[in-house]
Amino acid sequence: MTEPAQLLPGTLDLLVLKAASLGPLHGYGILLRIEQITRGALLAEQGALYPALSRLEHQGLLDSEWGTSDNHRRAKFYRLTTTGRRRLREETQSWNRLVTAIALALSATTPES
């Protein structure tokens, strides 16, 4: 198995939104979900998740609530808001565009005269 790929800068927010869109999760759960959906792409440090969560909550994209986890501990659960859902859609589109554009750029053989 190769080294797990590092996340591209700026993509963490998108991944958090994506993870939270699949159902309410606490921070650690989001981390696991990201690992799962990216098949192992890792954060350099897991703590980096918390500024991202706080930022997204601050922007009104996530909502939070204290609840009880599977292991019967008190945990903070995050849920995607309507704005968050819309943002996720937009970001996904713009991500796809970027990918297309870069793929196009890389596939160009000779430069235009």
């Binding site: 703590g47 500024p51 292991n71």
Partner: protein, 889 residues
């Protein structure tokens, strides 16, 4: 924005709680992680170590969380501003044109708003609760506004309940100083409670108090001076209180100084001193009868509404009471009434004459501002189009569209704020120009409207509006770009942006339309002015010099005034070239209205509500000869028509036509001033107040049979020589006869009556300037669009030329496009102007709001401007070299 604010609020209020929660959250993470690692087979100590390493420093992340909770939009904004400033620096030409354009538009609007504020919106600076201060005005039977007599005022003051307090206010020009060194100043004669009514506190000393509040005439020679007079003549020395000052030859004691902001009770005007109205007889050197005559209506009346009373309620009471008074005093006031008006609608003050021109100017400068907005929008659009690629990259990198819109709006805001600074500088230079709205001879002591905080707020609001209006379309347009298309097509994409081209065409066409409206408006006023000036007044103003005198302020009584006039006339008649000398109390075509008298005509029975208050002039012998007004029947007045002989009268043709249809006019008796006059002559009709008026009945009586020394009078000198010499002679001779009664307003009659058209002239002048600016800005707008189009189409033009298009074809193509914009604007503008001009028709004299000459001249000018603005880009297009052009991209 709301959730963020809520979250910020939450964090501020529950700072320690949210910190605790974060601790809990991170602890939960670590504990769960440790559990998982233990379950996967690590020892507890090893699991703990691994979990902490994987997590990183909890401290550091707590700091980062705290940072992320700050108001990010503020940071975004600062970033936008920085970025915006950098972008503007890279395009200094664009920035300069945009800022200059904005500064012109904002400056013009700020200036005119500061005038409107000083004259209409804030009529009583320095007064407390000015919105409760109103003007009480008497109404004649024909509902004309007239001032109020002192006796009426006392009745109003005693009986009206809806008014808390009332004061008279009578503006007069006084001579201050001794015979050798006299200065003319503006004083206001007021009731003792005037300052209390206006809620003004003295800067120094006191205002009128206790004993001065009685009604004893000429008993209290005390005066309050203005702050500026105190500064200029007393060096702001407190010892000025108690000093004596000679006013119209009488000694007065200074008792107080008014605060700096207070200028008196006439909006826009500055008074230098205030004396008691009960001193009126002494200051006019005519005893006390004027304050005891109900027919001598000469006072403005100010009032403060009683608490809780609305202006409508007060108006109702005043109206009803005025009617009752008119019945009680039927001999003097039959049919009269009174009303209450807010200060800005009061008829005595400059606001009356400024209301119409200021509204028109505000409208015109609004049009100018719209053109400015369109122009800046255009410039921004052009820039946005060439920056399309930059925007696409930012979008592709994940910038939300809203962020991009905000960025562009920030840029337009930056431009507008620079424009605001320029505009304020321009306005600061221009506010003093309010003076220009008045004829030089009658120019009152105008206050210079300050560019203060209120004006600044207006300008700021205006600027924000402009920034939004001008920045909105470009911002949304830029953000709506299709990233894929743009990036795929490389640099060429921008030329395909059809929507942007259409929008810019539309903007240019509307700019032209607005400029055409401004042009036509200015054209109508210019034509109106010239037409009115060419009208015949019915008398001959050529070769006539005139000068005005105001005896009372020099402290003359009636005999002295009479002897002054006789001696001056004799002196003048001996001047070379002088053919005839006369004087009168009224100059034809003066601004403002003259005096009227209630007449009763022998053999004429007036209709039940017919207004028999007719306007008149008091004239000396040879008046008709001096002004070349033909006498159609009878004789002129002679020196024998004095108080000792039978009263006589000359009437005009319209008077005869209206009242003496069935009689031979000469010898008919007419009653006025309580005496019977005999008609001895009929004079041709002349224009009396305005060149544009219809013929009105008018009459003349000998000035020596009626004259009171408080009436100012005017000398007329007809000469066969130069008018300038005659003016000089008037000044020289009057000084020789009495050094203490100088002639003022010595000028030629022709110049003087040009003032009757002054408002028209100034409207024409100022509107021409605004319209010129408007069309210039529109031309710049058109030029920028055409130049941009040509640059964008270089490639296409190259192909056309390569395919055989001749330079003339290319030229025609570009000019045709320019003309399409221009003509569309012209059509829209003409329609708009025709609709608007109907609103202006009341201010237009002798010209139709759809005058064909004005419209075609405006159209010609507009087309010429369009051609000029298109010429340079067209020329550039014509010289496109196909080889270069095709290699261009």
């Amino acid at each position: 924005m709301f959730p963020r604010l809520r979250s910020l609020w939450h964090n501020l209020r529950h700072r320690s709680q949210s910190e605790r929660e974060l601790d809990d959250e991170m602890r939960f993470h670590l504990e769960t992680r440790i559990d998982d690692l233990v379950r996967s087979g690590l020892s507890l100590a090893e699991a703990r170590r691994r979990a902490h390493i994987e997590f990183g420093s909890t401290e550091a992340y707590q700091v980062k969380v705290r940072e992320s909770r700050r108001l990010t939009w503020l940071e975004d904004f600062v970033q936008d501003v920085r970025y915006g400033l950098r972008t503007l620096q890279t395009a200094p030409g664009f920035a300069a044109v945009a800022i200059l354009t904005l500064a012109i538009g904002i400056g013009a609007n700020t200036t005119i708003f500061s005038w409107i504020r000083a004259v209409l919106l804030n009529p009583l600076p320095g007064a407390g609760h000015p919105e409760r201060v109103v003007a009480l005005e008497s109404l004649t039977p024909s509902n004309d506004w007239v001032p109020t007599s002192y006796l009426d005022f006392r009745d109003f003051r005693q009986y009206l309940r809806s008014l808390e307090s009332l004061s008279v206010a009578y503006p007069m020009s006084v001579a201050v100083g001794d015979d050798r060194n006299t200065e003319r100043m503006r004083a206001e004669l007021v009731s003792a409670n005037y300052f209390d009514l206006l809620e003004v506190r003295p800067e120094l000393g006191r205002f009128f108090t206790g004993p001065e509040r009685d009604e004893a005439q000429n008993a209290h020679p005390v005066v309050v001076i203005s702050h500026s007079l105190w500064a200029s003549h007393y060096h702001s020395d407190p010892a000025a209180i108690g000093a004596s000052v000679r006013i119209n030859r009488h000694l007065y004691t200074i008792i107080g100084v008014a605060p700096e902001r207070f200028n008196g009770s006439m909006p826009g005007l500055a008074f230098q001193m205030w004396a008691l109205a009960t001193m009126h007889g002494q200051l006019h050197a005519m005893g006390d009868w004027m304050l005891q005559d109900r027919k001598t209506r000469m006072f403005r009346v100010l009032a403060r509404l009683a608490p809780g009373v609305t202006i409508e309620q007060a108006r109702g009471e005043v109206h009803a009471f005025g009617r009752r008074m008119a019945e009680a005093n039927a001999d003097t006031s039959q049919g009269m009434s009174a009303t209450i008006l807010p200060m800005w609608k009061s008829h005595y003050g400059i606001q009356e004459s400024l209301l119409a021109p200021l509204s028109i100017l505000m409208g015109a400068s609004g049009v100018l501002l719209l053109i400015v907005c369109a122009n800046v929008t255009n410039l921004l659009l052009a820039r946005a189009t060439s920056r399309q690629k930059e925007f696409s990259v930012r979008l592709a990198l994940g910038a939300p569209r809203s962020r991009l819109i905000r960025q562009l709006l920030t840029e337009s805001l930056l431009l507008s704020l620079c424009g605001l600074l320029g505009g304020l500088a321009i306005a600061h230079q221009l506010t003093g120009a309010l003076q220009l709205l008045f004829p030089p001879e009658t120019r009152p002591n105008l206050i210079r409207p300050p560019v203060d905080f209120g004006v600044f707020l207006f300008t700021l609001a205006l600027t924000l509006g402009v920034a939004l209006l001008a920045g909105m379309a470009p911002a949304f347009h830029a953000a709506a770009g299709n990233v894929n298309e743009t990036l795929k097509e490389g640099g060429r994409s921008a030329s395909t942006s059809r929507g942007s081209q259409r929008l810019r065409g539309l903007l240019v066409a509307s700019e032209m339309a607005l400029a055409v409206i401004a042009l036509i408006g200015a054209g109508l006023f210019v034509k109106s002015f010239h037409t009115a000036r060419a009208m015949q007044p019915g008398f001959d103003a050529h070769q006539v010099a005139m000068a005005r005198f105001s005896m009372p302020s020099a402290g003359y009584d009636r005999e002295q005034a009479d002897s002054f006039c006789r001696r001056l006339r004799e002196q003048l008649e001996h001047e070379p070239g002088v053919t005839s000398v006369s004087y009168s109390d009224y100059v034809p075509l003066s601004l403002g209205t003259g005096s009227w008298e209630d007449l009763q005509i022998e053999g004429y029975v007036p209709g039940p509500s017919e207004n028999m208050k007719l306007y008149r002039s008091l004239v000396a012998p040879r008046y008709f000869e001096s002004l070349k007004i033909p006498l159609l029947q009878g004789r002129d007045f002679t020196l024998q028509d004095d108080p000792a002989h039978l009263p006589v009268m000359v009437v005009n043709q319209e008077f005869v036509r209206r009242f003496l249809r069935t009689q031979y006019p000469i010898g008919v008796k007419v009653q006025g001033w309580g005496r019977w006059f005999t008609i001895v002559g009929v004079a041709q009709d002349t224009k009396i107040y305005r060149l544009t008026e219809n013929a009105t009945p008018y009459f003349y009586v000998p000035i020596r049979q009626i004259h009171r020394p408080e009436f100012p009078f005017t000398f007329f000198v007809r000469t066969t020589g130069s008018v300038t010499d005659a003016i000089a002679a008037l000044q020289r001779d009057s000084r020789a006869v009495d050094p203490a009664s100088p002639a003022f307003d010595a000028t030629s009659l022709e110049d003087f009556i040009a003032q009757s058209l002054f408002t028209n002239k100034i409207a024409a002048d100022l509107l021409s300037v605004l319209a010129g600016t408007a069309i210039l800005l529109a031309a710049i707008g058109l030029y920028s669009v055409m130049a941009y189009t040509v640059a964008r189409r270089t490639n296409e033009i190259g192909i056309r030329v390569a395919l055989g298009a001749r330079p003339a074809d290319v030229l025609a193509m570009v000019i045709r496009q320019g003309l399409v914009f221009g003509l569309a604007g012209l059509l829209l503008g003409s329609l708009g102007a025709a609709a608007l001009a109907r609103v202006l028709s009341s201010s237009l004299v002798a010209v139709s709001p759809v005058d064909p000459l004005v419209y075609s001249a405006a159209a010609l000018l507009a087309v010429a401007i369009v051609l000029a603005a298109t010429a340079i880009p067209a020329h550039r297009a014509m010289r496109v070299d196909p080889m270069v052009a095709l290699r261009y991209e």
